[in-house]
Structures are given as C-alpha cells and as structure tokens.
C-alpha cells in the first residue's frame, strides 16, 4: 500500500533508494489556520531535499513535526518503513532525526563540547576524550570548531557548525536545517554547502528549508514547493534549468487578484523618498499619494524591515531625502506626539511590537490613542471602554470581551483589533507590514477590505512577502531586493506584473534576457 502511494508522488526514478523517513497525509492546524494539509513526503539517504516556499507556507511547521517538536493533527510518520510516533524531540533523535532550528538551541555560557554533550542522560564526562571525538567528526565534514571555545564567543556560522555537530555526534541520519543561510556570510554559506554535500555523500539525508531560489538550485537534489500549507509541486533539480523556471513554479500560475479593487481618486503626496539609505537599505526612492496603495514586495530579509523601521522612526536614516507628511525625518519624528498622529504603523510582530499580550483589550486599544481618552492628566477609562466596545463590534473581534487579555486572542482577531485601533485616529499615512501573515481566509479578506477602505483618507505603504496580497491590493508595485527597488511600476503594466517572480530573485526582466542568452 505504501508502494502505491510512493508511485503517486511521481518519482519513479528515485525508487532505487529506499526512503529513510516517510511523511504521509500530515495535517496540522493552528485554530482555523491550516499550516499543513495532507502533506506526503519521502526523505531518502544521500539526497539533499529543499522545501521551498514563502513565509508562512508551512515549511517550518512540517519540519518541527518531523523533529518531534510539535505533533500533527493527523497523518503518519514512517521510519525505515515502520510507523513511528514522536512525542518529543527525544523520540525523533532516537530515530536518527535531528533539526537545526533557525534560532540556535545553544547554551551560550557553555563550551562547544558541553553543548554537544547536552541531553545525553548519564555518565561522567571526560573532557579530553570528548574533545577528540568532536575534532574527529568536525574534520570529517569540514566543520572545524574548537571544542573548548565558549559558544558566546562564536560567530553565527560557527554556532551553526556546533548545532550540526550536535546532530552528527548523535549519529543522526536525517538532518533538517531551517533557513540555514539566513544568518551566514557568503563564505560561510559555501562552507556550509560543502559540509552538507559531504554528509549526503556519507549516506545521510539532508532537508533544508529555504525561500531563496538561488540556494535551492545550488544545493538541492530534490525540490518540494509549499504554498499555503500544501505541497503544490515536487520535482528533481535536473528538471528546472533556471531560476526563472523555478520562480514560475514557486509563484504558480494564478496570480489573480482575489477581491475587486476599485481605484480611488489620488490626492496629495504624503510620503516621498529620494535615495533614502540606512543599514541594509542601499537606496530607495518612492512617492506615495493619498488614495494609493504602494506594495513593497520582496523575499524577507532584503531590507524591508529596515525600510519600515526608518519610515516609522525606529531607525535613523543614513542619508537621502525623506519627506513624511510634508516634513523631513527629523522634523517629523522629533516633533511632539500629537503632531505625529497622521502616521500609523501596523507591525508584523503582533504580540510583541503591536500589543502588550498580558494587558486587556481596553488597555491595548487606548495604548496608541491615549490622548483621545484623557481629562487633563487623567485617563477617562469609561470613554476608553466604550470606544473599545465599538471597535470590537465594528470589526467583529472574537471574543467580544474588552477585559480579555490581548494574548488570548487568535492572530486574526488581534490583528483586527490592532487595525481598529490604528484606524481610529483616521491616519493619513499607514505603514503596514505583512498585515495578513498567519491569518485564515476570512480574517485576511476582512483586513484587506479595511485597508482598501482606508484609502479614502490615507496613503498606504504595504510591505509584504505574500505576492498574492500585493497583487490584490496594490496600485503600484515596488519589488525590493538587496536593499534596492528592482523596479517600481503601476498595476496595469501587465508585463511587469508577470515578471514579479523574477524580480524577487533580483533579476530585472530586460537584463534577464541577455543574461539567459549568455548562460545557455
């Protein structure tokens, strides 16, 4: 029966190698959000598999299920053809499956050797013997590290090597790496790739999670593409000749707007950047008018976060011209609070930057609107509560209880509350960062409608790594890559809209044709 399903995966050529691990029909939901639905996946020794997908596509959820960190709602895991059940990372480690998390699980106050030994339950430690064993392993895969060094003193690349050594020390046969290159410098990346190739040659199965197409093409033997919790495509590296082809497969064909967009008459200019720069932002120019939505699309980590921080006053620009609601950066952000009311920020980090999870909805609602609810120096909580109730009703926040702690709300409801709060002031300029990430469909559409409605009084800068969101909402697109806008164009420029996938990889369409000719 297992064999039949394996055939369905469409990889007859791979039948020669028996999978060491097989995931079958894995489903996992968080509330109403389906993080993984019915995922089937084979992991084979000696192969390097890439899981490619946008942020929130369900890659990390899937792998943390495999590593025993979370449990699936349904579905089965087979190890060496036998059904297995992982209750904790311990079970997975014992089955030979280990994971290098994006946030390293290392104790900074301990040495490399001590970290590697961590969790082995009994016995006396022989520091010298351990050092030798660690050096031997490190030498075999080109992961040189000093066993006696303190982890706190190591670079990110070295820390990652320690994480990998931890798994090798335990004889893991399957190594999972979550966004392994996110924290590395280019030389460290190529060194990591060499090490991973050596491990695969040595018979280990390697799975790495990525949203960078270049890396996938460079390293992977097999590619699985995840979108909204499902595997939408799965193929061998040889089948995709170019980044362009891979981009097309990753984006999918239907980039249709999902709700109707009626343009609003554009008003005065609210935000203008000319050659604005800061850390990780090389040079950005844009202009945003009232009634307009400008979507900054891009793969996370290309300077969007820094751009947003600069526009919201969290980071000082290093140069260039910034005009925010008619004032320069310093003039705007150094002004008294009441003169900054026109600008609002909807952060990506809903339970960190946007709200205080332990405070109730009234406190959180009043948080950025305090001055509307005061009598002289005193808070007017009655009015605060009334306004919160109104907002809860108007945005249908669940549960409709103003005294509930914000942290108890689901992501979608919390986001509705944040938007209700920020729009309460009728802002003129809105900076929204991945406003629908992690939301279910209905909450997502609700948020979209609110943002579209806000065009009446505001210009909106929408920073998103979800292309379908950009296509649905934006009047103007700016594609960001490596701290720059690759291109800025209106929504009716169909040719360029179709080429967004390429631009995400840093390729400008006109220069691309030449590039491909040179490559073939």
């Amino acid at each position: 029966m297992e064999q039949n399903r394996a055939a369905c995966a469409g990889k007859e050529r791979m039948e020669g190698i028996r999978p060491v691990v097989r995931l079958e029909g894995i489903c996992k939901s968080f509330g109403k959000v389906r993080a993984n639905s019915n995922i089937t996946l084979d992991i084979r020794p000696t192969r390097i598999k890439a899981l490619l997908g946008e942020n929130g596509a369900g890659k990390s959820t899937l792998m943390s299920i495999l590593a025993g960190k979370s449990r699936p709602d349904s579905g089965r895991i087979y190890v060496d053809g036998l059904p297995a059940r992982f209750r904790s990372p311990k079970d997975a480690l014992e089955a030979g499956i280990g994971m290098v998390y994006q946030h390293f699980m290392l104790v900074e106050a301990m040495t490399v050797a001590q970290n590697i030994l961590l969790g082995q339950e009994s016995g006396i430690i022989n520091p010298r013997g351990m050092g030798l064993r660690v050096r031997e392993l490190a030498g075999r895969y080109g992961l040189e590290t000093d066993p006696d060094a303190l982890v706190a003193d190591l670079s990110m690349g070295e820390r990652q090597r320690v994480e990998i050594l931890k798994l090798l020390y335990r004889d893991c046969r399957v190594l999972i790496l979550d966004e392994p290159t996110a924290v590395l410098t280019p030389p460290e990346i190529s060194r990591l790739f060499d090490a991973l190739r050596r491990m695969a040659e040595d018979g280990k199965a390697v799975v790495f999670i990525s949203h960078k197409m270049k890396e996938v093409l460079e390293l992977a033997d097999e590619v699985e593409i995840l979108r909204r919790g499902e595997i939408v495509d799965s193929f061998l590296r040889e089948e995709v000749p170019s980044e362009r082809e891979l981009a097309a497969r990753m984006i999918g064909r239907n980039l249709e707007p999902r709700i109707e967009l009626v343009p609003v008459k554009k008003g005065e200019e609210l935000l203008r950047l000319e050659d604005a720069r800061c850390e990780k932002v090389e040079s950005v120019s844009l202009s945003l008018r009232r009634g307009e939505i400008l979507a900054v699309a891009g793969v996370a980590g290309n300077g969007q976060k820094e751009l947003v921080e600069m526009l919201t006053g969290l980071r000082e620009p290093a140069g260039g011209v910034l005009s925010i609601l008619g004032r320069d950066w310093k003039g705007f952000f150094h002004a008294p609070v009441r003169r900054k009311d026109g600008l609002v920020y909807i952060p990506e980090d809903r339970k960190g930057l946007a709200t205080c999870p332990a405070l109730n909805l009234i406190d959180n609602f009043v948080l950025t609107n305090r001055r509307s609810f005061t009598n002289g120096p005193f808070m007017d909580w009655k009015r605060g509560e009334a306004a919160t109730r109104d907002a809860i009703r108007e945005y249908s926040v669940q549960p409709p209880d103003p005294s509930a702690p914000a942290g108890s709300l689901s992501g979608g409801n919390l986001q509705k509350l944040v938007i209700a709060r920020e729009f309460y002031r009728r802002p003129r300029l809105i900076v929204a960062e991945n406003p629908t990430q992690g939301l279910d469909i209905s909450a997502m559409e609700e948020v979209w409608r609110r943002i579209l409605a806000a065009r009446e009084h505001a210009g909106i800068l929408l920073v998103t790594s979800d292309l379908s969101e950009a296509v649905t909402l934006a009047d103007t697109f700016a594609v960001m890559y490596g701290g720059r806008f690759i291109d800025v164009f209106p929504r009716d420029d169909a040719a360029k809209v179709n080429a967004i996938g390429l631009m995400l990889a840093g390729i400008k369409p006109e220069e691309h044709d030449g590039g491909e000719a040179a490559g073939t």
Partner: protein
C-alpha cells in the same frame, strides 16, 4: 592578639561558616537549574526543627540529619509545585515559603523551646587533627563539619563533569536547548529544587545538632538570607562558596569575640556586621561580575510539558 586566640578564632570561623556553606551550596544548586528559591531561611529553620525532633525522639544523629534533608527537600517541592506546575512567580513563592517555614517551625517547636539534645560532639580526626595550626582550625570539629568539606568538590564534579549536571545547568541557562536535545528541563529543575533543599536542610540540621544542641526560636537568625546573597557573591561557583561562607563565618565569630572582649563598640553595631558585609559583598559582586555567572534563565518559568 595571641596565637591561641587567633587559632580559636579561625576554628570558630569554620564552625560558624559551615551552616552557611550547606545552605549556600543548596541554593546554588537550585539556582543553577534556573529556579530562584528565596525560601532558604524558612527551609533552614524547618530543617533545624526536623533534625532536632528526630534526634530528641530517637537519639540517632545520622537519622536526624537524614530527616532534616528529606523533610526540607519535600518542603522545597512545594516551591516546585508552585513554580513548575502552576507557573507561579518564583520570587513570591520563595518569600511565601520563608514566611511559612518560620511560622511552622515556631509553631511545631513551641512546646520544646529550651529542650536539650545530645547532637554531634566534636572529635579530632586522627593524624590530621595533630597538624599544628591546621589541625585545630580544620580537623578538631564534628562530623557535619567534616562532611561539609566534601560538598563543594562533589557539587563541582556533579555540575562540571557529569552529563546530568551539565543538563541541569543548561536548564538554568536555556531550557529550550535542553528540550531540543531530547531531555526534560523540568525534570532537571525538580531535581535542582529537591537536592538544593536537601542541602539547605543539612545546614539547618547543623544549627540544632551541632551549634546550639537545643531548640529555640529563630535559630537561623537570618543565615538563610545571607546564603541567598552568598550565591551571588560566589558567582554561582561551588569553590567560591567556600570562601564566601567562611568569610562570613569569620565575621560572625569575630563579632562574638569582640563582644566577649568587651570592645567599646555597641553590640548591636557588631551584630549588624554580617548584614552590612552582605550588602557590600553584593555591591562588589555586581560591580565586578556585571551579572556574569548568573544562569541566564534564572527565575524564568518554562512550560510544564517541557
């Protein structure tokens, strides 16, 4: 000061430092696992009472010591229930434990105030006890003092040279790393709480079995709090704890001697000395250490399932 007087002062230093050493090492072990237990003062008093009570009923000194350790360990588990199971605030729970311990030991001990017991008697160790200077200072005491000499190296070995000790320290530094490595940080914390309270209980047992040989109110007189401060003073290192405990023992002994000598200093000022030194030591430790040595996850609760 004559030579004999000096030697007797040093010997008294060791005697006064021993209960501090037990309690400091105990709290240190608990804190290394990531749990802050401010109930030391209360636990120590209860330990002293358990030891006194079993000694009085059975006359078996070692049984009394064991009762103090196990009984206090179980009292410590209350802190575990509050913090590890119900995710209570560790500071609040610890303070409550102190208040509870002080009250309970006063209540249980009320009928016995002034009752004498035999307890441990000093005996010089053969050979070692004859060494000039060192003999009288270190090796002419009681069994619990000798036992306390073994504790710091044993604790050091456990924390630094055994896999479980390593895992326990990691639970105090970065519990997620422990779960990711397939072990249970909560289990380590339960152990840290119990074993730490066990040692604190031995410190209490020392007070009633070796120091006073009788039951009275407020046997600890703030020694539990000094132990909490000594853990910081020692940068969470067992070796440093010895220095700290004996330094404070020295101040206590000196303070008594000065009073006996009729020094022209008000006695309340002298009695204040150890506490003043505690404050100074904390200032010095935090200025020098800049938080170095404190377990990174000290006082942070973790999910019960982890």
């Amino acid at each position: 000061m004559s030579g004999d007087l000096f030697i007797s002062l040093l010997a008294a230093t060791i005697l006064a430092g021993t209960p501090l050493l037990y309690a400091t090492l105990g709290e240190m072990l608990t804190e290394r696992s990531g749990v802050l237990n401010l109930g030391v003062e209360g636990m120590m008093l209860l330990g002293a009472f358990f030891a006194f009570f079993v000694e009085m009923k059975t006359g078996n000194h070692w049984l009394a010591v064991l009762a103090a350790g196990l009984g206090t360990g179980c009292i410590g588990l209350l802190h575990g229930v509050a913090c590890l199971v119900f995710q209570g605030n560790q500071t609040v729970s610890g303070l409550a434990l102190t208040i509870f311990g002080v009250g309970l030991s006063d209540y249980l001990g009320a009928p016995f105030v002034g009752t004498l017991t035999e307890g441990f008697q000093p005996f010089p160790l053969p050979v070692l006890g004859q060494i000039p200077l060192f003999g009288p200072v270190f090796f002419q005491h009681n069994a619990l003092v000798y036992l306390s000499y073994l504790m710091p190296p044993l604790l050091w070995l456990f924390l630094n040279r055994t896999a479980s000790g390593l895992t326990l320290c990691a639970a105090g530094e970065y519990p997620d790393a422990v779960s990711a490595a397939g072990a249970s940080p909560n289990r380590m914390r339960w152990f840290g709480i119990f074993a730490g309270a066990f040692l604190v209980g031995l410190g209490g047992a020392y007070l009633s079995l070796c120091a006073t040989h009788m039951w009275t109110y407020n046997l600890t007189a703030g020694k539990g709090w000094i132990a909490v401060a000594l853990v910081i003073f020692a940068f969470w290192r067992p070796g440093h704890a010895v220095l700290g405990a004996w330094l404070f023992g020295g101040i206590m002994a000196l303070q008594l001697r000065l009073q006996a000598l009729g020094a022209n200093i008000p006695s309340s000022l002298l009695m204040m000395l150890p506490y003043a030194l505690t404050i100074l030591a904390l200032l010095w430790a935090s200025a020098r250490g800049r938080g170095r040595g404190a377990p990174a996850a000290l006082g942070e609760n973790i999910a019960p399932g982890a």
